[in-house]
Structure formats: C-alpha cells, structure tokens
C-alpha cells in the first residue's frame, strides 16, 4: 500500500504514475521550399525527447492524408499561394488551438511573393510555355490553380505565433516548442528575425 498521503488529485500526472496526455501536433507545407521542415528535423536527437510529449497527427513526415478534427498546435510552413492552400489554411485554423506561422514564407510570403508584381497569366506563360522543353501547357489536373498573389497566412486567418526566419534556426524551433509545452509564450524576436 502506498504511504504517500497526498490525495491523488493534488499530485501531477507524473507523480500519480499516469502518463500526461500527449499534445496533438501537426506540421503543414503550403507554398514553401520545405526548408522550415528541414530545420525542424535539425533539432536532431532532441526530437526523441519531444516525441515523449507530442503525437504527430498530421505532417508530410507521417501518413494521414486529411487534417484531423482537433490539433493542439500546428506549424504551418509556406505562403498561401493556390486555391488548395487557401482551403487548407481555413480547415487548419478551424481545427487548431495554436496556429504557428512557421518561417518567413508563412509570415511575409517571402520568396513565393516574388511573383506578385506579375499577373498569373504572365507567371504561367513563363513557367509552362517559355521554359518548357516539351508538352507546353498549363496543367489542368493535380496541380492546383494559383491565386492572383502569394500572401502571408495572417492575411487570411488569425495566427497565434509568428516564427520568423528563412528557415527559423533549429534551436529556436526547439525553444518555442518546449516553451509552449510548458505553457509559456516566448518573445521570439529576441532569437530570430526576417531572413535569419
């Protein structure tokens, strides 16, 4: 019999010997180069430690095809650039508690926005005709239609945390996640900025 007199409800999950429910996390890849995801993987062996607290429920790194109905924290990389991106970000916002704009493309539209001073017609002309070596033509299947411009996520849906950087340094991503797991909201501008 246990000699501990503290009532179970006054003890933490860990003290009760019960595992704390894991945080449901997602990472999403919109119009970006995946550099932010690479930087996430650069957390290296600390990923094992994070994995004890996090359940990765949706990501290019795992299997599910549909964004789940409830996610605690989502890291969204990339600008909103196509009709598909727009649908995705709306669904993500609806089903996510803490939405993180992950990296400069998500925060500022960054490199994808370099097409914005041209019309979509001119962009298609350049990408699918002038530089095509065979089968010139705009694809009408699989590849989603471009929106008139690539724009940052927060211009479409509210964002909770802005994580700048191209890509954000691995240490800053790790610091942010551990802070969030501990219930703290860090001041990220101390550690990163546009273009870092």
């Amino acid at each position: 019999m246990s000699t501990d007199l503290t009532p179970p409800t006054a003890r933490s999950d860990a003290e009760r010997g019960e595992p704390k429910p894991k945080v449901k996390a997602a990472t999403v890849w919109l119009d970006g180069c995946s550099g932010c995801h690479m930087s996430f993987l650069d957390i290296d062996e600390r990923l094992i430690e994070l994995a004890q607290h996090i359940d990765m429920v949706y990501s290019p790194l795992v299997d599910p095809k549909q964004f789940p109905d409830h996610v605690d924290v989502a890291l969204v990389e990339g600008a909103v650039s196509s009709e598909e991106d727009l649908e995705k970000i709306k669904r993500i916002r609806k089903h996510t508690s803490i939405l993180i704009a992950f990296g400069d493309c998500a925060v500022t539209a960054n490199v994808p926005s370099m097409r914005n001073s041209f019309s979509v017609k001119d962009v298609y002309q350049r990408g699918y005709f002038e530089t095509a070596t065979r089968r010139a033509g705009v694809p009408d299947q699989v590849v989603p239609k471009l929106l008139p411009q690539a724009r940052p996520i927060h211009e479409y849906v509210p964002v909770d945390v802005f994580l700048q950087g191209c890509p954000p340094p691995a240490d800053v991503i790790y610091g942010l996640l551990t802070d969030l797991l501990a219930g703290r909201k860090p001041n990220l501008t101390e550690h990163t900025r546009f273009g870092r």
Binding site: T108, V111, S113, F162
Partner: protein, 240 residues
C-alpha cells in the same frame, strides 16, 4: 560687466536631468546620455531632414509628436522618448515600410547588415499587420560598379544628401509622390549613363538597406562601410 547669455539648456528626457548646448537637438542630447531613440533617415555628418519620423518623441505641453533629430532643445523641456504610444507608432512606421516596398530579406544582399531589418527586430516586430502592396519596382544595374534596387529603397534620401553635401556631385534626386516616389539619378536616366556621378561609392556606403549595393554581391555579402563618412569628414575638418 554684462554676463553673456547662457549657452546651456537644462531639460529632462524620460525623467532624467540632462544638460545641452542650445544648438543641439533632442536626438544629440539623448545620444550623449545613452538614451536610444530609433532613427532611419538621420545620419551624423549629413543634414537632418526629419523624413522618416522614427525618432518622434513626446514633449510635455504639446499634443503633437516632435521628430527628435530636427527639434532643438529648450530650457525646461520635458521629453518622453519611450512610451507605449511611441513604441506603437514606431512599430507602425517600420511595418508600413515593409508593406510598401518588396523586402525579401532571405534573398537580400544586405541580409544581416541592414538598418531596416535590425530596427524591425529591435522594435519586436514579428509580422506586418498591414496588407503588403507588392508594387512593381525596377532594378537599375546599368552602372559598371553599383546597382540600385528600388524594391528595397525606403526613401530616406541619405544617398541624395551624401552625394550633394559631401561628394558635391548631386547625382541623386527624388521623383514622384507618395508610393510612386523614387530616387533617380540625373534626370531619371539610367545610373550608368550619368555624367555627374564620379563613381565614388559614398551613396552605397550610407544607404541603410540593400537598395544600393556593389555589383557582384550575393545574398548577405553586402556590408556597408559606415565608418567612411565620419572618417572622411573628420579628415576634411568639417564634422557637422
């Protein structure tokens, strides 16, 4: 015997008592006393024009904000250089510069060495709350040594002033109004065809952003030589 009029003024900045010469600006005195006020268009050695409004401060008795770089000290002045209101306005000014130009720091020649980028970080800007304009702006690479990229120009006119006041060439000017305003060389001819430019590079070294840079510089490679102007003016004995 008549006593010469006092040449010293006493005032407070953020509650701190400070003394100043009567011909000094609030910014001068703040700097002498280690009080940081953000600036962008101001550059020691060039005339002060009060264009960017980042240095706005509150002066007791006036509801109008005053630009510290062009406001002379006065006896008994009570200056507030840091308040929530000022911090908010300063953030907004920098955010508007980002929203108006096309600043893509990750692929910029001055990434890591840029005053605008540094200010954004220092003022704790983590995103731009205003919709980006994504205007069409051109790049002039016609000069054999330098490049002008309008996408990164914040219209501080440091280039205009250094070329006029220090080099004496007056190659630069401003054309147009509002969001259409642009720096131009000579009568809006390509820089490379300028007959007044001596290719001295002073404009490039004082430009706070990646708008002016040396040919051939890649991302992060353009480091500005900020020490050149004070050194040059000291050697000429004309430190303003």
């Amino acid at each position: 015997m008549t006593v010469p009029p006092a040449r010293i003024r006493t005032l407070t900045i953020d509650g701190k008592d400070v003394g100043a010469r009567e011909d000094e600006t609030i910014l001068d005195v703040a700097r002498e006393n280690g009080i940081w006020i953000p600036t962008l268009c101001q550059m020691t050695g060039l005339s002060n024009i009060g264009a960017c409004r980042l240095c706005l401060v509150e002066v007791a008795g006036s509801t109008k904000l005053q630009p510290a770089c062009v406001t002379r000290v006065e006896e008994g002045m009570q200056v507030t250089a840091h308040s929530d209101r000022l911090a908010e306005y300063r953030k907004m000014i920098v955010e508007l510069l980002f929203a108006e130009g096309n600043h893509i720091c990750s692929v910029c020649v001055t990434n890591g060495h840029c005053d605008l980028q540094w200010l954004a970080q220092r003022l704790e800007i983590d995103h731009i709350r205003f919709p980006y304009l994504y205007g069409k702006r051109s790049v002039d690479a016609s000069h054999e040594r330098f490049v002008l990229d309008h996408n990164r120009c914040v219209l501080c006119t440091r280039c205009v002033r250094v070329c006029d006041e220090v080099e004496g060439a007056h190659t630069w000017d401003i054309m147009g109004r509002g969001t259409n305003a642009r720096v131009i060389t000579d009568l809006a001819q390509p820089w490379g065809e300028s007959t007044s430019c001596t290719s001295c590079g002073k404009c490039v070294s004082v430009c706070p952003t990646g708008a002016l840079f040396e040919q051939g510089k890649a991302v992060t490679e353009m480091v500005k030589h900020r020490e050149l102007l004070p050194m040059l003016l000291t050697m000429r004995g004309r430190q303003r």
